[in-house]
């Protein structure tokens, strides 16, 4: 037998060009030579290429991510595993993670989104958790653009069909429509699972001689080099070089889910991991790296779907619905039995070793032999030049000369502006999306889509969890550090609106090419901002995903950090919704309003510059971390005390939109006077109505509780003021020199018809 891997007949010769095509630069190739002490085989080159891609190796983000806080008393499993795990009290833990599927969805929206949902589900159930919820954070071009409508339609059907079939409710998400995402949509899916702490299992390969098994779908040629593809910018017409589109098979996923949970609960496994990006390669090497072991596989034993597959292809295929597991000694047969019960096949493809090597054979031939540690953990990292673009600086100061009131006048006045904002698909009702999702399967859903955060009951039947995903690309574009902070602060306060205490978060960083100094600057700043907010709010990061190279034709998307926050609700009977429900209830505004109109939806939706483009300018609202933390405390305290009848934060569209949303949700009008709002007398009318100053929320309480509300505000250091009352069929807002009096039905109609009106009543065909 050969002691060194030999080239396989038919393999291309290793040339500088081949190396470059694998996304590896000269220095990286030199490291590979040093690590191996020889030239790599073709298969080995493929393995390095995948593992050292941005997607797997975090080349440009790892140094930045190091600074994020990852620990707290609640964190059971931080970053580095398939998913993060936090303790939510009692015996129960929650596993959760978010992942992007941006590039695949830009090519084939339905399958791209479906397989995105499939991948993140596997990440969660391989921790031993039963997935209980999906969330989708979506960014598309505007709905005037036919291609964007096609992508949006396909993505929503894809997420829906997959989650619906597997039986996991999709209980919330975001949908943002902005020309910045036209060519490169962002599709991030988050999965949340619940497990008793005793079930926790990790992606480890321990115990010399233990069997390594491949389970689930057969391996085909689909998605070869998906990880590398995800790490390049989208080429307008490079259809041929794209990896084969992966097709989701949610039924097989459902079988895998049930079988995995059964294998885990019967304690038959040492470790288990999804074959996700970089397929067999990443799962095998990451599992052995975590355990400091080695792993040896024979690709001849891998069940395949196509003929004549090469080791290179088998190692790098990203065929969906596959898992790698390491069985406990002597348990192979029991494992096979469980899998057979679920009509799944498992093949023993190798074993755990102790020599720290990833060794791949094809029959008797050795095709790869790579030391695991450097392959997995020593991917070269870079901290390239970071420099803010002049353009952004110019945009920030552009508002300085503009009078906000003049803009409001140009927008047709306050009432017109409010109606336009409610008609903006980013702000408008998202029922067109969420009704295509099964939101109530598993009968845990206390609050599905439509509120600030979704709320699910935990198995103990008293506690609950609240979940929200948030991010604001426009704000992040204008001031990345602020945008990073804002994503965390908004997600936390959305969770807190329900009465839940924010506990921990995951995140997905969607940015352009880090090789662009302006983009690397955005990334560095946004991550730093996120970290600051995590510290201040006590919500560590337990994992996440980085998606770079989101750009086409040299134009990156808005830098878009998306935060997925989990909070715990001690007592589900004290849950608070966002709807105005009690006629006669008093409306309070918590938090100070400042003159911060920059980056607002009002500017982007209601105003245009001389060229007719939406105005994306100014300094975005600052995130005062202390105020953010205080507001969370205020919301949680008021809910736990049973004082708040409703709570809704101010975000896109500001106070006026927040009020309208509460009214529409509850079917109750209101009468408010905004000049009384904290800080209300020192800001412009436009800002008072539509400014997006952070750390503010609209809460209601019965009149008898007025003193309690004031007390809680004082205790928590939150300035609050009573601004009006709930009731009637009219929404009346007065303040800052403007008055609007609008029928609730009219507001509601605008809000609910915005997306259906643009999408038409029927599915968009395959148009491109």
């Amino acid at each position: 037998m050969n002691h060194q891997p030999q080239p396989r007949p038919g393999d291309p010769e290793i040339s500088p060009e081949l190396v470059e095509n694998h996304g590896l630069n000269e220095a990286e190739y030199a490291s590979i030579l040093a690590i191996l002490g020889r030239e790599p085989t073709y298969a080995e080159l493929g393995v390095f290429s995948a593992m050292w891609s941005e997607h797997c190796g975090y080349k440009h983000s790892r140094p930045l991510l190091r600074n994020l806080p990852t620990e707290s008393a609640a964190v059971v499993q931080g970053p580095g595993e398939n998913a993060g795990v936090v303790s939510v009290g009692g015996d129960w833990c929650v596993a959760f993670k978010i992942e992007s599927h941006n590039h695949p969805s830009a090519i084939e929206p339905y399958q791209g989104a479906a397989t995105g949902a499939g991948g993140i589900l596997r990440d969660v159930f391989t921790m031993g958790a039963r997935p209980v919820a999906l969330f989708d954070s979506l960014h598309f071009g505007t709905l005037d653009d036919p291609r964007s409508r096609y992508l949006f339609d396909g993505v929503v059907r894809g997420v829906g069909d997959y989650g619906n079939c597997v039986g996991v409710p999709t209980v919330g998400g975001e949908a943002i429509f902005d020309a910045a995402y036209e060519k490169n949509p962002l599709i991030n899916v988050m999965c949340v699972g619940v497990l008793p702490v005793s079930r926790l299992i990790r992606g480890e390969a321990e115990g010399v001689g233990n069997a390594v098994m491949a389970v689930g779908a057969r391996t085909g040629r689909d998605g070869i080099h998906g990880a590398t593809f995800a790490s390049e910018e989208l080429d307008e017409d490079a259809t041929s070089s794209r990896p084969q589109v992966q097709v989701g098979d949610p039924f097989t996923e459902k079988l895998l889910l049930e079988a995995s949970l059964e294998l885990i609960s019967r304690e038959l496994l040492v470790g288990i991991q999804d074959m996700g990006a970089a397929g067999l390669t990443s799962s095998a090497t990451e599992m052995s790296s975590r355990s400091g072991s080695g792993i040896e596989i024979n690709v001849r034993h891998l069940p395949v779907r196509e003929e004549n597959m090469t080791p290179y292809e088998m190692l790098l295929s990203e065929s969906q619905e596959r898992m790698l597991l390491v069985a406990k000694p002597g348990c192979e047969e029991a494992v096979q039995e469980v899998l057979a019960r679920w009509d799944l096949q498992a093949a023993v493809i190798g074993k755990v070793t102790d020599d720290g090597m990833f060794r791949v054979r094809e029959g008797d031939a050795l095709v790869a032999e790579i030391p695991v540690r450097p392959l997995v953990d020593e991917c070269p990292t870079y901290e390239p030049e970071a420099r803010e673009s002049d353009e952004v600086e110019a945009q920030r100061s552009r508002l300085d000369e503009i009078d906000p009131e003049a803009l409001l006048e140009k927008a047709g006045g306050a009432a017109r502006a409010l109606l336009s904002l409610l008609d903006d698909p980013t702000i408008a009702d998202k029922r067109w999306i969420s009704e295509q999702y099964d939101t109530t399967v598993q009968t845990n859903t206390l609050a599905g889509p439509g509120g600030d955060a979704a709320v699910l009951r935990l198995p103990d039947r008293t506690r609950g969890i609240a979940i929200s995903t948030d991010g604001n690309g426009r704000h992040t574009y204008l001031r990345p550090r602020t945008g990073g902070r804002a994503a965390v602060a908004e997600a936390a306060r959305n969770v807190a609106c329900t009465g839940a205490r924010p506990l921990a978060m995951t995140n997905c960083l969607n940015f352009g090419s880090p090789l662009r100094p302006s983009v690397y600057f955005q990334l560095r700043e946004a991550v730093a901002g996120m970290g600051e907010a995590c510290e201040a709010l006590g919500t560590p990061v337990t994992g996440g995903n980085v998606s770079l190279y989101n750009e086409t034709g040299g134009t990156p998307v808005y830098p878009t950090p998306v935060v997925g926050m989990i909070g715990v609700l001690k007592d589900i009977s004290r849950r608070v919704g966002s709807a105005f429900t009690d006629e006669g209830g008093e409306i309070w505004l918590a938090g100070v309003t400042r003159e911060e109109l920059g980056g607002s939806a009002f500017l982007a939706v209601c105003t245009t510059d001389d060229q007719g483009n939406p105005i994306v300018a100014g300094e975005p609202p600052e995130v005062v971390l202390e105020a953010a933390a205080n507001l969370v405390e205020f919301l949680v305290t008021g809910a736990e005390a049973g004082v708040f009848r409703s709570a809704h934060d101010c975000s896109d569209g500001g106070l006026a939109v927040a009020l309208a949303e509460c009214a529409i949700a509850g079917g109750q009008g209101f009468d408010v006077f905004l000049d009384r709002a904290p800080g209300g007398d020192s800001v412009s009318g436009a800002t008072l109505w539509f400014g997006e100053t952070h750390s503010r929320a609209v809460v209601t309480a019965v009149p008898e509780d007025a003193d309690r509300v004031r007390e809680i505000g004082a205790e928590c250091g939150i300035p609050i003021e009573r601004i009006g009352v709930v009731g009637g069929a009219v929404c009346r807002i007065e303040g800052g020199g403007h008055v609007a009096e609008l029928d609730l039905t009219r507001l509601s109609e605008r809000y609910k018809s915005a997306i259906p009106g643009r999408m038409g009543s029927e599915p968009v065909g395959v148009a491109r």
Partner: protein, 244 residues
């Protein structure tokens, strides 16, 4: 009183039905594995929602061949109370226990929404508990019916389809158990979420012991989670078994 809940590999409302019975109703439930041929002396058999075998071909097309279905068919033929919810309804149609078929929703989209249903009959083993003692029952084609209840749907293939003859037979023999209606109780086209013929949401077999319905009563059977309009259906079954 024991409910047997069939688990196909792709069932995903099995646990919900289990909870509706155990938590909502306080009765006993057992799971019946699709490969088994034993109904474990269940008093009522439930075919729950989900995607029994992936259902890429047609909902329920493959499930009807599973070993357990042989037993279910026999049970139903012998008068056993059999409830098919959503995918369970599709399976009952494919298995020939109920007439007609469920095809893709008229709007071609999956829909998950609460809908209003009119309980067309309150004198069946599945619906007796919907009779309101305080409200005199209206009569409709000679059958007593109850007011409107709220129960969610969640399906992509729920358009009830049958030929005219079958529909006539269903209507004239009072075998439409639930109908999609608006808030005022009228079976309008706007209130029809999927294009079902005659706004049919659920039907009975000739003997009245098999019910198939697209809406999910099991999801509205737990007080702590909100409305519980589905619970009377399960209570009706308990009563029916108790008095038989």
């Amino acid at each position: 009183m024991k409910f047997g809940i069939v688990r196909f590999p792709g069932s995903n409302c099995d646990a919900d039905a289990y909870r509706a019975v155990t938590e909502g109703l306080g009765e006993t439930a057992v799971y019946l594995w699709h490969k088994s041929r034993d109904l474990e002396s269940s008093d009522v058999v439930v075919l729950p929602g989900g995607f029994s075998y992936g259902d890429y071909l047609r909902g329920g097309a493959i499930a009807r061949f599973s070993p357990i279905m042989g037993e279910v068919v026999e049970f139903a033929h012998n008068g056993g109370l059999t409830l098919g919810i959503c995918n369970g309804f599709q399976i009952l149609c494919e298995a020939g226990l109920l007439p007609g078929a469920l095809t893709r929703n008229r709007g071609l989209r999956f829909r998950c929404v609460p809908v209003s249903l009119r309980v067309e009959r309150v004198d069946t083993p599945f619906t007796s508990e919907y009779a309101d003692p305080d409200v005199p029952a209206e009569t409709f084609s000679g059958f007593h019916r109850a007011p409107v209840v709220q129960i969610p749907i969640a399906h992509g293939e729920g358009q009830y389809t049958a030929d005219a003859e079958t529909l006539d037979a269903l209507e004239s023999s009072g075998r439409v158990a639930f109908r999609y209606v608006n808030g005022a109780g009228e079976a309008t086209d706007a209130a029809n979420p999927n294009g079902s013929a005659n706004n049919v949401a659920g039907i009975l077999n000739e003997a009245g012991n098999v019910l198939g319905m697209m809406p999910h009563p099991e999801r509205h059977s737990i007080r702590a989670l909100g409305p519980d309009d589905g619970l009377p259906l399960f209570r009706s079954l308990v009563r029916a078994v108790g008095t038989s």
